[in-house]
Structures are given as C-alpha cells and as structure tokens.
Symmetry: C2
Subunit: 186 residues, 2 copies
DNA sequence: GTCTATACTGCGATAGAC
DNA sequence: GTCTATCGCAGTATAGAC
C-alpha cells in the first residue's frame, strides 16, 4: 500500500504541476488531495526537488512509451504525426493541463539544476523522435516537407507546445485545434 | 520623480514576470531591485493583482505599437512576418525573458479574472494582426500559404510562442532559430 | 507509514510616523 | 512617497510519538 500512496502522490502532483506550474502547488495541496497530512509526504519525497525529479523521470518514460506505441500501431509518417497531435490534444485535459515540460519551463528558476537538465533531455528525446518521423515522411511520401527533417521537428514541437499554451490561455480545446490545423493538413 | 519610480517598478516587474512567472517574483524582489522598501511598492500598486493588470495593459499597448511600426516600415507580407519574428527573437533577452502573455498563462490559476481576460484579449489582438498579415500575403504573393489566413495566424502565433519556450528551456537563442526557421522559409 | 507539533522563512498587506 | 514595524498566513522541512 506504500507504493500506492507514492504513485497516488505522483499522479496528484503531476496534475497540479501541469495545471499551475512548479510554484503553483504545495505539499498542503497534495496532502489534502491525497487524504494524508503534509508531513507524511516527506516520507515519500524528502524534498520538493526530489519530487520534481521523480515527476520528470516518470513523465519522460511515459511519453517515450507513448511514442513507441505510436510507432507500433501506425505505419505511415502522416498517421504517426496525427497520432502524436492527438496525444498532445488528449494530454490537455480540456485546457487544464499542459505538457509537464512546458509547465516546468516557466518555473525554471525555482528548479534544481538536475531537473533543468531533465527538461532539456526530454526536449532532446522528443526532437529526435519527431525528426525520425519526418525522415520517414520523406521516404514514404505521406508528409509534404519544405525543409530538413530536423528543422521540421523543431518547428513541430514548438507548434504543439504553443498550441498547448493557447488552449490553456483560452481554457478551450478549440484553440489547440486551430493552432494545429495546419500541421495536420499535409 | 514619482512617475519614474512607478515606471521603474513596472520595468523591473515585467522582466521578473517574464523570467519567472507571476508566482516567481515577490514585492521583496522588486524592492531590492528598485532600491526602496517593499512597503513602499504598495503606494504605487496597492496589490499584486493591480500590478499584474498594469503589466498586461502596458505590454498589450507596447506590442500593439510594435505591430503598427512594422506595418509602417515594412511593405510586403514576407518582410512583416520576418520583422515580427525578429521582434519575438529580440524579446527573448537571450532566452531569459518570455512573452509576458506566455509567462502569465502558466501562472493562470494565481491571476484574477480581469488579468486572465487581458491575456485572452492580447492573444486575440495578435491573432487578428497576424491574420491580416497573411491576407496581405495572399494578395502580394510574398508568402506561400497552404490554408486560410486565420489558420495560418493561429499556427504562427503558436510556433512563435513555442519557440520562445524552447529558447527559455535551453537557455539558448539557437533553439528559437531552429523552431522558427521553417516559418521564415516561405 | 502516518501522525501531531513545531521551527523557520518568506509572502502580501496594513498602520502610522516622517 | 518612503520609511519602520508588524500582522496573519502559507510555504518547506524536521523531530519524535505511535
């Protein structure tokens, strides 16, 4: 049951962090949502820095798995790109939750160096995966590209994250769709 | 001299907010940077909510003016788009400062409704301006578009803001250039 | 593993002297 | 307009009982 509490805390903290940023949630918030006292959280995560690192680790692994699943279930580059956009769209929670990487990026100065590095590592992993996607697109001809796969990948990641921001700002999924419409029309 | 202090405080607060978000700076930070006591700040801005509203108002007006200046000094749509990207690039402060609208979006839940509305209004203003830019691009043929001007505008704003995030995450202007390379190559 | 109790720090905000 | 002083609250973190 100890492990369940820890996972439960990670779930609650992830939602909170992705909704309000690293500075926007406290141990008191987590305690209330988890139904335990805030002092008890320190048993599972000694400091908030430790918690933030655990969040990024789990998020990185989780998204990496999603990418692997997309590869396994979608053959063409166009299908994979569409699946990636759908994943980002579903990750929004109706405009409530951003990508953890985006949420942490704004709170940058409150994070320990270790976590900042994890953000960069996450971005690097995503860029590499999307680059490979566009390389496939060049081969199978299902995506019309105008530049190198790497340039397309950086632009795609920026657009997806910017679309997340738009939906969060407007609190409306439609903003995400408007911003990504172009991405999917090729 | 009173007005100077107020403007000075706005300048300091804007940099702080764009670097670390709304939750990431305090009256104590501003006081130290301005060389006065934190209690004195309340004379100029009674509450932090009032300060945040003033910041958004000034930012909105300032960016709107930049857009007007771009129209006055750049004739073709392609030139105007390039000038807009350059403005965003310069606004980065080497990866330190985001667009205020982006920085506030993540701190959404700490903001009063009035300021949330100002964020939406700012985004609406920008989208309208960029839409007009792409409408011109259709006429003068200096930008190759693949969709409606409005869809292009939403995608462009998302990409610019996403590129800002990328540069902030990596603390490197090169990340902005990589993400916007595609935008400018058309 | 979770609790109560508490230490310490920093926050936004206010009162009132100058 | 700016100051000192202080309030009340919330933040992370720790000690020690159970």
């Amino acid at each position: 049951m100890a492990q369940d509490t820890k996972t439960n805390l990670l779930d609650i903290a992830e939602t909170a962090a992705r909704s309000r940023g690293f500075d926007g949630f406290s141990y008191a918030d987590l305690a209330e949502a988890a139904g335990i006292r805030k002092a008890s959280i320190h048993y599972h995560f000694a400091t908030k820095a430790v918690l933030s690192a655990a969040l990024m680790d789990r998020y990185h692994a989780s998204v990496e798995q999603v990418c692997a699943d997309i590869e396994a279930t979608h053959q063409s580059a166009a299908d994979r790109l569409a699946a990636l956009a759908t994943f980002y769209r579903n990750a929004l929670g109706g405009g409530e939750t951003l990508c953890l990487c985006v949420a942490f990026t704004i709170s940058r100065d409150s994070l320990v160096d270790e976590v900042k590095d994890k953000i960069v590592a996450f971005r690097s992993m995503m860029t590499r995966w999307i680059t490979a996607l566009f390389e496939l697109g060049k081969q199978d001809g299902t995506i019309s590209t105008t530049s190198t796969p790497e340039a397309e990948a950086h632009a795609t990641l920026a657009t997806l994250e910017g679309a997340h921001l738009a939906a969060h700002a407007e609190h409306d999924l439609a903003a995400f769709d408007k911003a990504t419409k172009l991405l999917l029309a090729r």
